[in-house]
């Protein structure tokens, strides 16, 4: 008690900001896992996985190459069906936005916000609890899909996974969760800013569309404008391409697809521009060990995590300043 009084006298807040955090996480996760919205998305993702993996299995069993077969389950496309990872690029944002777009403004419109905040918890616990619940739900769904795919692979191909493959698949899972984390945090920011859940959903989807469709076009144009090719020298061409790449990496989609490429295709040696001189002495076509592949996309991976944290921090600041009265 005296320590507490001491802390209060110094102007610090009483108690832990995370009081009640796990109560919020538990309730929100139960909500997510039982909601009709989540069921639809689960069915969607399971059907996608089943279709793409089935196609990949047919393709793989007819080809002779048998290295990293499990990874190929994720990346093999059989015309006209794209690879599973191709679907993930937009399924994950869709799930994340669906989990988050009404998380805060929904509490206001149901008029439960003031009742919940009148309990002995801080706002911090409510917001972080909602975010963690979304992230855990996402992790749960993705982990289940991953396991299903591996299981289908073992049954269909008759090849047990190697430690190397399992490691790569797990790291890819981590990257996928944080890729979802970005969209989850973005959805929450919009749900704090906009009072209407529909507006928040539209806002988040607009941002996602912007990065999926328009950003690469815009990066192209910007690179041409900022670093024009006047004389057609190699340096000019190279610096323009470099700028273009840097710009596209502002999009989480680019970061995610680069991580995906390096982790699931062990033979990939670079995700950026490579000059022939840099390949001197490299034995092309030989796979890199896992830690080398990780090193290759470490900036991208940390970038995904950092963006998630930054967006959450933005939402946190906005939520703390929000007036509670509806």
């Amino acid at each position: 008690m005296s320590a507490q009084t001491e802390a209060i006298r110094k102007g610090r807040r009483e108690g832990s900001p995370w009081t009640g955090l796990w109560a919020v996480v538990g309730k929100e996760m139960a909500d997510h896992l039982t909601s009709a919205r989540m069921r639809i998305l689960e069915v969607l993702i399971v059907l996608t996985a089943a279709g793409t993996v089935y196609a990949a299995l047919k393709n793989l069993s007819s080809s002779g190459d048998d290295s990293f077969l499990l990874l190929k389950l994720f990346t093999t496309a059989q015309d006209p069906i794209p690879a599973f990872v191709g679907f993930l690029g937009f399924l994950i944002p869709l799930i994340a936005i669906a989990l988050a777009f009404d998380s805060v403004n929904g509490e206001f419109s149901r008029r439960t916000m003031s009742r919940v905040l009148a309990q002995p918890i801080y706002r911090d616990a409510l917001l972080l609890g909602k975010f963690l619940a979304g992230l855990f739900t996402l992790a749960l769904v993705l982990a289940a899909i991953w396991l299903l795919i591996i299981g289908a692979g073992i049954l269909g191909l008759g090849v047990p996974p190697s430690g190397e493959e399992v490691g790569r698949i797990l790291w890819f899972l981590v990257a996928s969760i944080f890729y979802g984390g970005i969209w989850l945090a973005l959805g929450m920011v919009f749900s704090i800013v906009f009072r209407q859940p529909a507006t928040a959903a539209m806002g988040a989807i607009a941002v996602w569309l912007f990065f999926t469709v328009f950003w690469s076009i815009l990066a192209d144009l910007l690179a041409q404008a900022l670093s024009p090719v006047r004389f057609g020298t190699v340096e000019e061409l190279f610096s323009q391409a470099q700028l273009n790449l840097t710009l596209t990496r502002f999009s989480p989609n680019t970061l995610y697809s680069e991580v995906m490429l390096a982790l699931l295709r062990p033979t990939v040696r670079s995700v950026g521009l490579v000059l022939p001189i840099q390949l001197h002495g490299a034995v092309l076509g030989t796979p890199l060990p896992l830690h080398q592949s990780l090193l290759l996309v470490w900036p991208q991976l940390t970038g995904l995590i950092a963006a998630t944290i930054l967006l959450f921090a933005l939402g946190y600041v906005l939520f703390q300043r929000r007036e509670i009265r509806a």
Binding site: I8, E14, R110, T112, R115, V116, P120, I324, R325
Partner: protein, 316 residues
């Protein structure tokens, strides 16, 4: 016990240029039912949010149960139950699940929570529908669930914002019964409302709010004296020599005015309650007393009179 449960000193809240609450001094005693009255937008809800530490005051100080809600929000919120206006619940969850979430947020153990939820639901008469989704509840049931929700934490102080708004008369009456039960248990209740006869029925004291200021505080009769500026109105019905009765009544000390109506009815305005003296005077003057009644000052009159008066002053 005259311990102060709520104490504010020069409490103010401004949103930009708008003054929501202006230098409020409020003192509520333990065990009291206190009513905050005023038109919409007069600062009642803002005051309540500041008492709970959900909004920070611009200036002034607040003490709730002796604690500062801005500095010790967890202690305050663990002891104070708050029922917001138009209280909302998670519609797809049952009543019990809704309450159990609140119990977990309050850090109650599983067993303790179950006991308190059962007893709270029984007290507000919802134990039979405890496992139905809240989406099926009527407005009155939701309000009662709101009270159960507040009771989960065994509060010392309960704050209710517009608790009876939108309820049918029967629902409102049973709700007022619940408030009286709370009072009987020694729980202090602060409620805001603009449904005056209901406030009058349950509140020990009321405070009139206008544009962020609480200008009048007191019991209802007390306010009547101050606002209506008149004393007591006594209605008498008499058979017999009406002129002599009139004279006798007029002679009574404290009588301001005697008005004669039809059928031997009199209306006597007096500075204090003269019923006994008036009855004696009627009988001594040879009249037969058929009826005797005193007009209770109504909060409605006070309210209307007060706000009319204020508006007159402002238009002048």
């Amino acid at each position: 016990m005259s311990e102060l449960v709520i104490e504010t000193h020069k409490l103010s809240k401004r949103y930009g240029d708008v003054v929501a609450v202006d230098a409020l001094d409020l003192a509520v005693q333990r065990g009291e039912v206190f009513g905050l009255l005023g038109p919409n937008g007069s600062g009642k809800t803002t005051t309540i949010l500041m008492l709970l530490g959900l909004t920070e005051p611009t200036a002034g100080s607040v003490r709730v149960l002796g604690l500062d809600p801005a500095r010790r929000p967890l202690s305050v919120k663990a002891r104070v139950g708050y029922m917001p206006d138009e209280v909302g619940f998670y519609d797809d969850m049952t009543a019990r699940q809704n309450l159990s979430y609140i119990a977990r947020l309050n850090g109650l153990s599983h067993n303790e929570a179950r006991q308190r939820i059962d007893s709270a639901l029984a007290r507000v008469g919802l134990h039979e529908v405890a496992d139905r989704p809240v989406a099926t509840f009527s407005r009155g049931m939701r309000r009662r669930l709101g009270v159960a929700d507040v009771l989960i934490k065994n509060p010392q102080l309960v704050i209710m914002d517009e608790p009876t708004q939108g309820l049918d008369p029967e629902g409102a009456r049973s709700f007022l019964g619940i408030i009286e039960d709370l009072k009987a248990e020694g729980i202090t209740v602060l409620l805001s409302s603009h449904l005056l006869h209901q406030v009058q029925a349950v509140c020990d004291r009321v405070g009139l709010f206008r544009q962020g200021r609480m200008e009048l505080v007191g019991t209802v009769p007390d306010l009547a004296r101050r606002v209506l500026g008149r004393g007591h109105h006594i209605h008498i019905q008499v058979q017999g020599p009406l002129d002599r009765v009139t004279q006798a009544l007029e002679k009574l000390p404290g009588v301001v005015e005697v008005q004669r109506g039809e059928d031997g009815r009199f209306q006597v305005a007096a500075t204090h309650d003269l019923r006994a003296e008036a009855a004696q005077a009627v009988v001594e003057a040879g009249g037969r007393l058929l009826g005797l009644d005193i007009e209770q000052p109504s909060l409605d009159d006070i309210y209307r009179h007060y706000f009319e008066e204020v508006n007159h002053e402002r238009t002048d």
